[in-house]
Symmetry: C3
Subunit: 450 residues, 3 copies
């Protein structure tokens, strides 16, 4: 039966936005100050944008990135971006930014080198308006809940301020503890000291360390968190029957790289076990090798677009963790991959078996029309729809949130319409699944219904 | 030239079913007893079905699986399945089971929690009828030949009984010797003892061991077998110039894991060399890590849906074997992968060169509409059609055999119609290739024409 | 907006052919002798063709391959090929050869066992004509530039002869130095001796070795080369702070395999650094395991269709090289992969960041309609179009060059029309991108505009 994708899309187009994972700054909503200017809104924070410009020879300093970019004229930054607008043909960045300009901001002019200043001025004028402040936009976007991602030691003052304000927006933190779990993390020893100070626990013994982590999780949960998040390069988990010894070596700074990795692998399992206790959904983002461009890291700091995906072995890497907790009813662990070859080979078979597992939506380089199509093509036949986790926008570009959910919803509609055409199921099923994929799975898997 | 997939499908829809690889129980056809009940027919033996239910929190014991499931009420099992029917949206299981219910069994009612009992009763009543006994169904399905998969020590009494009966159905065994080849196999030492007893060969020397294997192969061939089968996790082959020494260590139980793997790698080559001698087609299924859920294995035994695919290196893994026998005219080795990234990268280039190699059809998680489309997309341009091996249903769910061949034939027609539309070839070619893929390749590659 | 692929194709169909990488023999154009016969033109040099025939049991000697094939009757070779024409259904070889027969040679008859002799005679008669000599065909094909691939020690006499002739065709060499860089290369020590003789440099010290390589690069550039090329099995690069020691071990023949690989990994970086100096574009073809069929290599020599792709790790393998030169403006390094799983996972993210990187077109087994579609599907969303390198025909089958560019242009048009239909961009953009992909990117990335 032929079903029109546009009709399925219409059924989910205006549903609320559920954003259970992303990187917005909670200060925006705590302070509700105006966004500074079009460049700081659309160009400078968007690593999709500046990595493409850099790949074609544009200097990051001229784009206002990092310390070398301080003092760059935002209008010039925006011009440089507009001048290279052609580079984005065929990329999701182009779709998102066109959505932002034309639909979110209502600008009719099309972006080009010629229109750069005009559009800059139009956006700048809009940002002066009260109805373009963070909270007003949040409300206008129909955001039901927005999760930020926050280090384990974050005092969550912005989240507290939002909660205590008279504004009704739901902005919740996510507990990201890698900086106090992974001995190879920058500043790990200082972070342990901070953890000790913050919690008052005695970190001299492994039990005290676990207790401190439990306290931080409880603190995050009390501020609304429903999930944790881990970013690992290679997925490796390992249950140490006697972790105290290795913990002491780690604390003494005498653990070698192999031991550090074993310790972190053990701690991932401890975190999963704490999730069994406290009900926080566990997210694992694996397969990104961070900051591969050393010169850029030295000059501009981390996160300058040089993180690169590598191949991942989920089956063997996650085995020890799953054999500790994977059969636990109610536990939710969401797996995100940048290695698409693992979708059909590993993640769909694993999520189609282990009760605890769900497959996260296409992440990072793959949250694009073709990327989403490949995702459905590869996971659904083995994992079905109910072992998926809905959508994440995963963005630090606040204005692009409606654009990203819209792209997802269109791709969902496209996929489901094709399924109907192939005879997999009928229109009623497709409409139900569309709502599931647009909002309900995310609400459920992240425990966001309240 | 636009060609209609439906027309190509019509040309192959009613061709006989050639099933050269699967896991039906030969006792069904030897004894021709009625199938016990709808749950034991459709739910309990189908790991696709129960793994999906388990992934969403359904207890395997309640599904009648393994020892803990003994005594489960089949009607309750069926209800549990029907209640979760939505989970199968988008999966091939749903297509197969709908085909079984509506076309094979002629039930009009659609499955749901509400219709569970009605449908259960309808199926149960049908199973009472003589025309729904195994042999009658086999005949009605138009099965030309059905191969089972049988351990090396199997006495093949059921196959013998079928051959001596007055029923004309062709049910042949397949020689699966891993349990007497792989020192890491459960019960390997006992199996060697059994092999010695069964053949009367002296297994004290490697030559006697080889001779015993030759005898078992001949015994299987005498019972109609045309093929062997191996299931390996990582493909590794290695020619030992002096296998006696390692054989003695293996027999003495003193070989370590590395030596055990080397021994098995050598034995795969010995098996290929025996295939050169006796003409049995060799099947290699690689890349499945078995029983990854240890708690389930302890409670429910093996094969509870926790086998997981892993990445495979065919080129280096199979090199030593191919350099012994790969250029042999007439030898047939069929490779099956769960790592789809190897189709275009390794298997199609290899099968497009080595005379002995054929690429098996999409296996296990990938014998689905999108899986089959990806398979053709990735193998045909390099390997053509004549280096493929046709279709396997590979099922232990007897009733689903027509459904699985039908799904394959529809997917074949879809693929060939697209090729015509793209201008790759014309309708005459497409119709010829359709018959090749539906039946002729399987007959040829498995040596089934008689 | 629906845009017709045929219209986009029409806009690029007759553009000149830019062929920046391939394996034609420059002697053809230096001498301008007639091609010997249809078999030597279409069958014997085409490893796509003879590997497929071999995979189905055809003897390579009967196909006129290698020393054992000397003296094979070309008419018989052509018959054998025509007899097996069905094997090529669904392969790009069939598309290319049909294009050659029907469009390039103007033969109306369709190839089959029955028409073999007729077609053979028609081709043979055409080859007698002056307008079917190499230079005339080169001109008729509209080839703007054709790059050959030449060993580091090649005296380039044919290229010099072409340049000094009154014929205006541009046939340029490409510097392929692996035979003097990789200690594991056949004849490496002899090649070093040849390099010393040819350049007069003192290879007793590492500096002299580098100087000799610089001289050879300059010699190639003086003969028109704009690029270098490397073929590596596993990509591995490594900067040795003190290469002299290892160089001395390599020269003394005492380096082990691991050291040889480290040395070659260092030399790849030296080559990249020389590209920074002299502006030659660097090509890296990685992931092909050469001559995996040892019996064929012994009997027929190398390159008999037994090279097999293996998995590649670009991110870690290329890291040391990129951290030396990857941020250099103006440097061009083109990466070619046979491991398609790296397109979305590694190559598109890398090319979308590093200024020096471009992604080469689908290579070898993947320069086919479905292969090209997968390529665009996987690279464009992350790398855009401007980080691609246009098209290579990469062929030693001269007559197939127009066919291969035509197949690419049709696939480009197909892809761009789909992008328009999906709403990614409009027809004007599509037409601009079509020209970019057909000719302009290749001209630019290989520095061919003059």
């Amino acid at each position: 039966m032929a079903v029109d994708a546009a009709e399925i899309y219409d059924g989910i187009r205006t549903l609320p936005i559920v954003s259970p994972h992303g990187h917005c700054d909670p200060a925006w909503f705590a302070d509700d100050r105006k966004f500074a200017n079009p460049a700081e809104l659309l160009v400078i924070p968007d690593h999709y944008v500046f990595r493409m410009l850099y790949s074609q020879g544009v200097d990051l300093a001229q784009l206002g990135i990092g310390a070398p970019g301080e003092g760059a004229d935002p209008r010039e930054v925006f011009r440089l971006f507009a001048h290279h607008w052609d580079l984005f043909l065929g990329t999701p960045s182009r779709i998102w930014i066109e959505h932002v300009l034309h639909r979110t901001l209502g600008i009719e002019e099309r972006l080009s080198a010629q229109t750069s200043d005009t559009i800059y001025d139009l956006i700048d004028a809009l940002l002066m308006q009260p109805d373009h402040r963070p909270r007003a936009l949040f409300d206008r976007f129909g955001i039901e809940v927005l999760a930020t991602t926050d280090g384990a030691l974050d005092p969550l003052t912005h989240h507290a301020a939002i909660a205590q304000s008279d504004w009704g927006g739901r902005v919740i933190p996510t507990f990201r503890p890698d900086s106090v779990l992974d001995p190879l993390h920058d500043g790990f020893m200082d972070n342990l000291a901070g953890l000790e100070t913050q919690t008052g626990c005695d970190l001299g013994q492994f039990e005290g360390y676990l207790e401190a982590l439990r306290q931080r999780r409880a603190f995050f949960a009390a501020h609304g968190a429903t999930a944790t998040d881990h970013a690992v390069e290679q997925i490796r988990t390992e249950w140490l029957p006697e972790p105290e010894t290795l913990y002491q070596r780690v604390r003494a700074g005498t653990a070698d790289a192999q031991e550090a990795s074993a310790f972190y692998g053990h701690m991932l399992i401890e975190m999963a076990q704490m999730s069994v206790e406290d009900g926080l959904t566990m997210q694992i983002h694996a397969g990104s090798r961070r900051n591969t461009n050393m010169a850029l890291k030295r000059q501009f700091g981390p996160d300058t677009g040089a993180d690169m995906p590598i191949a991942v072995d989920w089956v063997r890497g996650l085995g020890p963790l799953l054999n500790r907790v994977g059969n636990t009813p109610g536990l939710r662990i969401i797996l995100f991959t940048l290695d698409e070859s693992t979708y059909a080979r590993e993640l769909a078979p694993m999520a189609g078996h282990w009760p605890a597992l769900r497959i996260g939506p296409p992440w990072w380089f793959h949250d694009s029309p073709a990327g989403i199509a490949r995702y459905f093509d590869r996971v659904v036949e083995t994992a079905g729809y109910h072992n998926l986790a809905g959508f994440n926008d995963d963005t630090r570009a606040f204005l692009s949130i409606p654009a990203r959910h819209d792209l997802w919803r269109r791709a969902v509609a496209e996929h489901l319409a094709q399924q109907c055409t192939r005879g997999a199921f009928g229109r009623d099923d497709a409409e139900r699944l569309a709502r599931l994929l647009a909002v309900d799975l995310a609400r459920d898997v992240y425990g966001l219904a309240r």
